[in-house]
Symmetry: C2
Subunit: 651 residues, 2 copies
Amino acid sequence: MQKSLPVYDSDGSTFAPLVVIELVSETKEEAITWLLNRVRDKQQDGGAELLVEQLTPGAQGTEKDNPNVYVVGASWQRLLYGAEDVGLFKEFKDGSMRGFTYANKHNFKEFQGDGDGFLSMAECQYIIKHGLDNLRAKDEVHVPGYPKMKLYPGKSVIRRMQSKGVLVQVFPLHEKEELKRLSFSWFKKIKLSFQPLDDIRHYFGEGMALYFGFLEYFTLALIPMALIGIPYYLFDWEDYDKFTVFAGFNLVWCTVILELWKRLSASLAYGWGTLSRKKAFEEPRPGFHGVLGVNPVTGRAEPLYSNAKRQLRIYLVSVPFVLLCLYLSLYVMMIYFDMEGWALMIHDEEPTFWTGLLLFIPSIIYAVVIEIMNLIYRYAAEFLTGWENHRLESTFQNHLVLKVLVFNFFNCFASLFYIAFVMQDMVLLRQSLATLLITSQILNQIMEAFLPYWLQRRRNKKAHKRMIKTMEDKELPLSEQVKLEADMSTYLGTFDDYLELFLLFGYVSLFSCVYPLAAVLVVLNNVTEVYSDAFKMCKVFKRPFSEPAANIGVWQLAFEAMSVIAVVTNCALIGMSPQVKSYFPESETQLILWVVGFEHFLLASKFILTFVIPDVPKHIQIKLSRLEFESLEALKKRKMLEASGIPKTAK
Amino acid sequence: MQKSLPVYDSDGSTFAPLVVIELVSETKEEAITWLLNRVRDKQQDGGAELLVEQLTPGAQGTEKDNPNVYVVGASWQRLLYGAEDVGLFKEFKDGSMRGFTYANKHNFKEFQGDGDGFLSMAECQYIIKHGLDNLRAKDEVHVPGYPKMKLYPGKSVIRRMQSKGVLVQVFPLHEKEELKRLSFSWFKKIKLSFQPLDDIRHYFGEGMALYFGFLEYFTLALIPMALIGIPYYLFDWEDYDKFTVFAGFNLVWCTVILELWKRLSASLAYGWGTLSRKKAFEEPRPGFHGVLGVNPVTGRAEPLYSNAKRQLRIYLVSVPFVLLCLYLSLYVMMIYFDMEGWALMIHDEEPTFWTGLLLFIPSIIYAVVIEIMNLIYRYAAEFLTGWENHRLESTFQNHLVLKVLVFNFFNCFASLFYIAFVMQDMVLLRQSLATLLITSQILNQIMEAFLPYWLQRRRNKKAHKRMIKTMEDKELPLSEQVKLEADMSTYLGTFDDYLELFLLFGYVSLFSCVYPLAAVLVVLNNVTEVYSDAFKMCKVFKRPFSEPAANIGVWQLAFEAMSVIAVVTNCALIGMSPQVKSYFPESETQLILWVVGFEHFLLASKFILTFVIPDVPKHIQIKLSRLEFESLEALKKRKMLEASGIPKTAK
């Protein structure tokens, strides 16, 4: 790994720059010196024991360039110790995945010679980030030179400087050669093939690889549905009765694919060594504030914030706000129906080609408005959740996901539910679904990949006109690379990507029986999504730090909740179909009772299935328990040896 | 602990006898010698390092007495090492619960001086059982003297001898003094008070204490329902419409109490040190047989049995058998309805007092038949599950519980569901419920406590007429105590006790809205149940080995499943009430849709609640994470020290 990177000269020693730290240009000298010393200090003295140097401006350096840009690296040994520290799992000699330990390093499969290439660059960068994040204040009461930037023993220095705005950003560097290879195998070649998930994981980490894995899996899972959908669409377009079979298929499909994904994701995570990796102790998130107190778990000084206050904020502000937004969304929906009625009226009065087109206008406008509302709400939700002042990033994320999901679900699907079950107008349902789906897909692709790309190109053209030219060549000086990457947009995580998949999953699983082409559209969208997402990760955004992940987390739950709703919805649609109604000509009550009974049976089977199908495939379970057994045995042996040294007497 | 027990003389050393091993009287001498040597051998030589002596017959010893009875004890040091081995958790100096280690023993709260009284007798017995169970064959190919009793390296010697019938039983001894104290505080004093759960745990172990804790909790949880039920019963006896409120109460009640129990049980288990105790590696259950192979997890020689064969047995034999039994149960139910109709006909023809009584006869007969069918089925299920040849005791138990639960649920409740939803006859439902409940309670109390007690008394009277007299005195010789206890019935675990509670929970949560006295009856039953169960544990059965348990296991799931069924049933009952029907005078469809919607809302809330309420109370969560954090920190510190010893050079 170290060979492919430009090396950097300083103090007579060289090191591979891995991570960039950017401070604001007017940072006080004493703060900089103090920070750099702390970063360089030995670990037993409370430092991070990393190598750090100021970036020397390149040939094209101008006055305007920020001089306070630093590159961080580490000695090979520090990285290996760090790998043990962060709990990396690597393949052992015998093929099992084990926690890496420095003492045991030669027993790991890919550790050859001095271990060059054993850690991927993403792993090295993760180790450095971990080192920087865990750089804690000792007895400093504030950052030198900044009396207002309070510190207390144990406070993460980097996080405090970042939250106070002195530290602009910390980001990992791209690796030109590898990125080129990855881009080629991922999205540049035309022929259809699976994504290079292992390479993606190697370069971007497990969290990202799992997202792309899920995207691919979801697309593949949709193909049978799309294949069934096409003939349905071609030959039975006007035969609304036939959707019963399709609804039944949907029911089974959405349960089965989620269960299978759990197993697949466990296999992937096992191979990547994140399945049995223990979660590190979670630190308070950067934005968390409170009165300084003592954490009851760690015994460390830490800001504390009363849970009661947080609950008050949640129940007195956030919940009413969400409800208000839901009401607003309902209001907009009603306006849409008014518009719909008005367009229909005009078309009925004098039906021409243009008034025929007019029929689609309300849906398109509504789709655009939905997207805009989702976007605005997204920011509001983020602000509110931040204001709720959650201590952990994970609880913050859970509250954010919950808020956003409830609103987006309501906003996107309320009109469809209304049309399906209150108006019971299957033609309108089909038309609305198609318009919503197509419009939102087009908007998404624009917002997600093309807009940022276009913005970046414009920026680049303005500022680094010459540089773009040199970028084509292989030999770009480090200082230029850093400057280029520092200006790229920051990737904010997989949240929006998963959210989009979640909504698509909703469209398909809830209503695709009345519009069988939905699955086809989603498949097409997903295929382009793979390319545009891959493109944006490689070309548009700064490289993100890799996130170790064993599964898709809260999203698994969200998709499962959606699949439960899908079972209920599809049963209701089946019950409403004329085909089924014809079996109960005399009694509607009988029909409903049968449908409800059937639905309860399905829900019960679904829960039993979820319970019965093991989440981790058998062969991986065996490997995991073998490891556990071995460590238990080793412990026992050690104890027995210790015990045998002590003389025993019968009492 | 050791002081309160009679000590036993042998080889000049004395030890407290804890566990009794009984071999068949005609066991070959060489097998006995070999076994005793293995039990006495040092642990590093593969022995159990326990003290064992033959029981010398007492003054009343007769020719007929089995001479091959051995008492087992252990040195105090062996017990302490064993406590570490089995992973006992004890209260640490700082009040937290930590895994006991020998090296650290003086830092535990109750370890004073040489640690006398630190381990309870039940814990010592558990340690000895663990030692005996883990006594494994080395290179013996069979038990000496028994060429057919095959052994292979790693096979548990005790289990093989037990499954081949040479070893009659292994059981722990009662402790007279403590048992007396426990009995007194538990069931002998008349005044109402909580059960001494800590003492029960101290004497019988955590599994038993959790059962009694659950029984008590369930009884207390029923009291509000009973209190509401009494005035209902007194003033609204004939007003079937009023049950809506009661059904609503049931709905909430059954969800809430189960959630709260989880938290309570976590608190109890934390205090007893079983909450964070890691499960030991599970051995194959004694009855498991197969072709000798290599376990993929442990790498040890072990019988293997193909999973496919087991699945075939389950799906081709067990499932059809269960279905056949369900059909039979249905058939019996139909006979019951015929009898019911016949009794009603007679009563209608000439209504006298006697024909009025006759009306109850079919229900009583049916209740008795149900109990008998349950009993027979129980044996059949046990046989079948054994024949399915499960490798682990836990999977065996799960399959057994599933089989028994499905049948018992069907057998007990099918007639009630039929009356409620097909016949829609609330008067008959009430009458059936009352008869079923009362009859099954009476039968249960007889079968469970009085029958075994009576049998035992009869046995005792025959064989040990004089001994009973001496039993009243304090000074009963050890040999007599052992003989007495060896003849007591063996307690087969909490399965039947939980099953009974499960069915009572079903009666109350499903149908108590139509018969509000059900809760009162169940409360009364539970109060006597506490006494009769306590009595049978202390007086009727052999002392059982203590089972460490952190929760009530699969029963929590069973009760939760029942509470889901209760929500559905109560919603349906509400929908059928004339009171609710009157709100929808013109449309039955509307009514059903509303009820179904309401029910879905309740089910969704229930699942969200289960998900949102943490299973472990906050203060215990904090304690658990503090321990985890400390062990992580200790590990880090150790590594840092190791690392600092190694010279580092920047690469």
